[in-house]
Amino acid sequence: MTPPESELLEQISPYKWRIPKERHPKMRVDGIIYASPALMEDIFRDQALNQVINVAQLPGIIRASLAMPDIHWGYGFPIGGVAAFDMQDGIVSPGGVGYDINCGVRLLRSQLLEKDIAGRLRDLIQVFYHNVPAGVGREGRLRLKASQLLSVLEQGSHWAIKQGYGWQEDLERTEDQGRLRNADSSLISPRAIERGLNQLGTLGSGNHFLELQVVDKIYDSQAAAVLGLFEGQVTLMIHCGSRGLGYQVCEDSLGVLRRSAAKYCLDLPDRQLACAPIQSPEGQNYLNSMAAAANYAWANRQCIMHWVRESFEQVFRQSAEKLGLHLVYDVAHNIAKIETMPEHKGRRTVCVHRKGATRSFPAGHPEVCEPYRAIGQPVLIPGSMGTASYVCLGTEQALQESFGSTAHGAGRVLSRHAALRRTRGRSISQELADQGIYVMARGRGTLAEEAPEAYKPIDEVVETVHQAGLSKKVARLRPVGVVKG
């Protein structure tokens, strides 16, 4: 029996809390939660801490079961959960990645200033809305054969670039260059192919979005200059994932791994934590099929960004090159990867699960692309609709403490129904318009369900990871226009 959550925790620094492994007989490692005292109050209301404890019981877990400040209740792992597993004794679990494999964020910069879009904001948002399919049930613009989709699964963003959906330079500014090489498309079920076939190049629904933004504060001018960011500049953020294909890969994998848990005598605290030893055929098959879904997600964001570039060209009647529409970076925030981490005086290869968490590698790390290696990997942390988003940088402390991980967003606090009740009788689009934000949404209830108050305050989340040293603030982006599904 787990004791009440308030009795579980020890505060070990202003932004860091510990659940000692002695508090639960099956915990193999401590739970560590990064949160300010204010965010901790939200976390107590949820049952996510129990999920931190559950993850701490998994075989081969290393050092700690970690939670980022945007933690909330998920399936298996909490959203905002990070855990690394030993390559020999450890497991891999779809519950540590989630259904939306490689859900992630990319940021596009421009040479435009806020004044340049002042009279064209509505035009721009309407053109984005028209050019980028969004919303539940909405099919994409691409008509692919199943054989072509297999190339997408193997090649990710590289496939999109080869087809003309983007620039060569986009690849090095994407985590893993937009392709996990261990992807094996032969593992993807016909049903997953069918679910993904007509959805490539679609935004989806829920919390996914396209957002036109203005850089309204720079915290680190040197790093901002390297990233090509400056105050008053127009940027565009894309948030989406692997669509139905990723959901089906997760579902298929859970079915297989649920049986393998019994085969390998794994004692699991939650059926949603179905897993297999990393080195087992089932574990390897999950990693390789997850990689294929991750590649689909990168190709998806790459195609969407291409149509965003075309949309700017349509409105401003200038080329995307002339408008300076360069990709700043693309991060995955639902993924499991084999990475090398520092340990004592050496290094250790581990399987890192980030579920609602962003990679945060420091300056000098070989995985950080060459243009940014001197400053560290860009970390993109989107806020909720109507609130700011942040560009941060990875840190050495994150590499040492959190397997190179930091927060991924605001994190939900209100259920969809609670958000609908809270906003009844209000016009969210008018409220946003009053703040200078023009929003278009396809779904009827989307705006109310995604109202800013349904999420944790993003400023508090980002300040927490900044103060805790897991990532460092570079710039704040203020929304001016949003497209939702």
Partner: protein
Amino acid sequence: MKNYELLEHTADMGVRAWGATLAAVFENMAQGLYAIALHHPPQDAREKLGLSFNAENPEDLLILFLQELVYLLYTRNLAATRLLITFDSETRLHAQGDFEHIRPENLAVEVKSPTYHKLKISRQNEGWMAEVYFDL
């Protein structure tokens, strides 16, 4: 007596369904799924489908059944107006359904999948109850 009710979750939603028989619980669970996924319940059946599932236990059977309905809804745009479920045993079921081709405008949210999170099937008084949370 209600057939089902919707359960709140921080980011997602669940369904608690009741029925005099296990088959009725499965049928009512399907109604709950459509209550989450659609603006309006399906009405105009045009296509008949037969579905069969085998599993190790009723919980796995319920998840397989709901996974199939999610797949049919988002990939084939099919939602059942009527399902007639029969069990050969607690681990083997057949469903005969009348399905409507729903219009994309009727889709309210995207259900990714039913989950095993707090999954429950139990006998209650003189009937059955089941709870499933869906990832949205």
